[in-house]
């Protein structure tokens, strides 16, 4: 049994992210961390590999800075890591990312399950998740909050998905791609021994030629990044007893016509 998980390095969630004068994005001296949604995917891959006596491999697509996320993954207990990078992937969109990711899974060959975090906070999207599944031609189960049953020899999986209206129970055949939500597990912290082992790991870098992938044309482009518009006006503090505060607030809300 072989499970593959994808991750990437993103600025720490508490970082103040801004667009600098030159138009590029900065986050001061805040650290890069594992994309927060990926922690749940990494934990699930470790659990799945352990339960089935199999192996978990973590892959990042991007330049060398993403090795940090890979080393964190290894320190948590993922068995192997690889990074995919190629100059052709610079400024590429989600289709190219998905083609490269699917190529990496195919290179590994014997993969039963791909686990992804719900979305990547830096690019602000999850579209690559579904596109990886389509490029592999595998079923996609998104927003998974629980793996209810999985049988790697019968090649079936049953999951619970968290949708707007409630929880859906779905079965699928394997191999499949799943994306997981926060409440699927409690991600572990890397152990001291894990960190030491990971720091010595040499992470292979695969090019698109290594994967035998040719990229689809890039169809979207980013024109510029902008800071959020400053909030207009100042906060109006409403004082008095709780009853007076409540009355003042209701007055304002009726004026604003939001009720």
């Amino acid at each position: 049994m072989h499970v593959v998980v994808f991750t990437r390095s993103t600025p720490d969630t508490a970082a103040r992210v801004e667009v600098g004068k030159d138009g590029s994005v900065t986050w001061g001296d805040a650290a890069m961390v594992v994309n927060p949604w990926d922690e749940y995917a990494l934990e699930e891959s470790i659990l799945q590999a352990k339960n089935a006596g199999g192996k978990a491999t973590v892959i990042a697509i991007g330049p060398e800075q993403h090795n940090d996320a890979l080393k964190h993954s290894l320190a948590m207990g993922v068995d192997e890591a690889a990074r995919v990078w190629d100059a052709a992937l610079e400024n590429a969109d989600s289709l190219a990312y998905a083609a490269a990711a699917a190529g990496a899974v195919k290179k590994l060959g014997d993969v039963d399950l791909v686990i992804l975090g719900k979305e990547s906070i830096d690019v602000g999207t999850d579209q690559h998740n579904y596109q990886i599944a389509r490029k592999l031609g595998w079923p996609m189960l998104s927003y998974v909050s629980k793996i209810a049953a999985v049988d790697y020899s019968a090649r079936t999986i049953k999951v619970e998905r968290l949708l707007e209206q409630g929880r859906q129970i779905v079965t699928s055949r394997l191999p499949a791609v799943i994306s997981v939500m926060k409440d699927i597990n409690e991600p572990r912290y890397p152990s001291f021994i894990g960190i030491r082992k990971a720091s010595k790991a040499v992470i292979p870098e695969w090019s698109l030629a290594d994967l035998g992938v040719s990229l689809p044309p890039t169809r979207t482009r980013t024109l510029r990044l902008m800071n959020l518009p400053a909030r207009e006006g100042q906060v109006e503090m409403l004082d008095g007893t709780p009853e007076e505060q409540a009355a003042k607030l209701v007055e304002r809300l009726l004026e604003e016509k939001v009720l």
């Binding site: 600025p11 969630t13 508490a14 103040r16 992210v17 667009v19 994005v25 927060p36 969109d93 289709l95 602000g124 999850d126 579209q127 690559h128 998740n129 579904y130 596109q131 389509r134 079923p139 189960l141 998104s142 909050s145 049953k158 968290l162 707007e164 209206q165 409630g166 929880r167 859906q168 129970i169 779905v170 079965t171 699928s172 499949a176 939500m181 926060k182 890039t218 169809r219 979207t220 482009r221 980013t222 990044l225 902008m226 959020l228 909030r231 006006g233 906060v235 109006e236 503090m237 409403l238 004082d239 709780p242 009853e243 505060q245 409540a246 607030l249 809300l253 009726l254 939001v258 009720l259």
Partner: protein
């Protein structure tokens, strides 16, 4: 057919509340490009929803009410959308980026090697036919301006509540065409085994009003029953149920929560607003006992009016709020509920 496609999401045969927003945005794009607006309705009750789509401004509707499409599943929906895109080569394909909308558009865009921009909060059609959009990135901390390529089909997943639906015209009728599904049941790997609907709660991402609670929900003055394993959790849960919920109910709103409240076990994760929860954009957001960490702000800062109720006058939430009430939420919220009942005549 050169057209703009809009997917109309349905649940149990009814159009989703945000689907008409997508049709409203589609109308703007279609008019600017000078092409018809075509709604796509798949699944049970598709013909009735198609008639409604006509009233909301669609010129044409493509319907498919096949049994394989009853209940959304990505494989048959994406295969059908990709087939229709390949056959008709529309200029653009729009939908609201709900859990279903975003995966449907991403999958069909991948199948047809088309560009996709998600979480779109505003858009403008350029003279060359490319669609220029603004979308939040880095968990909503900055904005990105991006554009599609007019040589291909441009897919856009819209942020819910970012676009306005047109008012329905009762006499307006669209030209309805039935289409065949792309997959047969034996070609579909996923089977829906069951659905546990959350009844009686308002969906957070659709809600016009949200009342959220944070860590301070544990400051409930009520005593936990003797022998309660974790009195703090009991107090917070009781506060959500008996203090915040009555306020949400009088406002017809939904209940949200900060990550701190979810992680402490006060309320299920489905209610979490913020970076690792839901991104919401209601008309009114009332933050009760939430300090306003940057991760929480990322999920609610685009709310139209923000009210903060917090004991700590220095809490960061007051920098974002339009109205600030310093004090104990367990005193202010009941007073607010009572005042609203009086003023709204409930």
């Amino acid at each position: 057919m050169s057209a703009v496609f809009v997917w109309i999401e349905t649940f149990k045969g009814n159009a989703g509340p945000t689907s008409w927003e997508a049709l409203g945005a589609g109308r703007l794009v279609a008019d600017k490009m000078g092409v018809p607006l075509a709604a796509l309705v798949f699944g049970e009750n598709a013909n009735a929803v198609a008639a409604e789509a006509g009233q909301y401004g669609a010129d044409k509707v493509l319907v498919c009410d096949d049994a394989t499409l009853h209940g959304f599943r990505l494989e048959p929906y994406a295969a059908l959308l990709a087939k229709l895109v390949t056959e008709h080569q529309p200029k653009a394909v729009l939908a609201v980026g709900t859990t279903r909308g975003r995966e449907l558009l991403a999958a069909a865009a991948a199948d047809t090697d088309s560009g996709l921009l998600t979480e779109v909060t505003s858009l403008e059609v350029q003279d060359d036919g490319s669609i220029r959009v603004v979308r939040p990135v880095y968990a909503g901390k900055i904005l990105s301006e991006a554009a599609g390529n007019p040589d291909g089909v441009q897919f856009l997943a819209l942020r819910g509540r970012a676009f306005k639906a047109n008012a329905p015209k009762p006499d307006a009728k669209a030209e309805v065409t039935a289409v065949q599904p792309a997959l047969a049941e034996d070609q579909i790997a996923t089977k829906i085994e069951g659905f546990e609907e959350e009844t009686g709660t308002v969906n957070l991402t659709d809600a016009a009003i949200i009342v959220s609670g944070g860590r301070a929900m544990a400051n409930n003055p009520k005593e936990a029953p003797a022998g309660t394993a974790n009195p703090e959790v009991w107090k917070a849960q009781d506060g959500f149920e008996n203090v915040l919920k009555p306020l949400a109910d009088v406002l017809g709103g939904a209940i949200g929560a900060s990550r701190a409240a979810v992680d402490a076990g006060y309320i299920p994760y489905a209610h979490q607003v913020g970076q690792t929860g839901k991104t919401v954009s209601p008309d009114l957001y009332i933050a009760c006992g939430i300090s306003g960490a940057i991760q929480h702000q990322a999920g609610m800062r685009t709310s139209k009016v923000i009210v903060a109720i917090n004991k700590d006058a220095e809490a960061p939430i007051f920098k974002l709020a339009h109205y600030g009430l310093v004090g104990d939420l367990y005193k202010i919220v009941p007073a607010l509920t009572a005042e609203l009942k009086k003023r709204l005549g409930k």
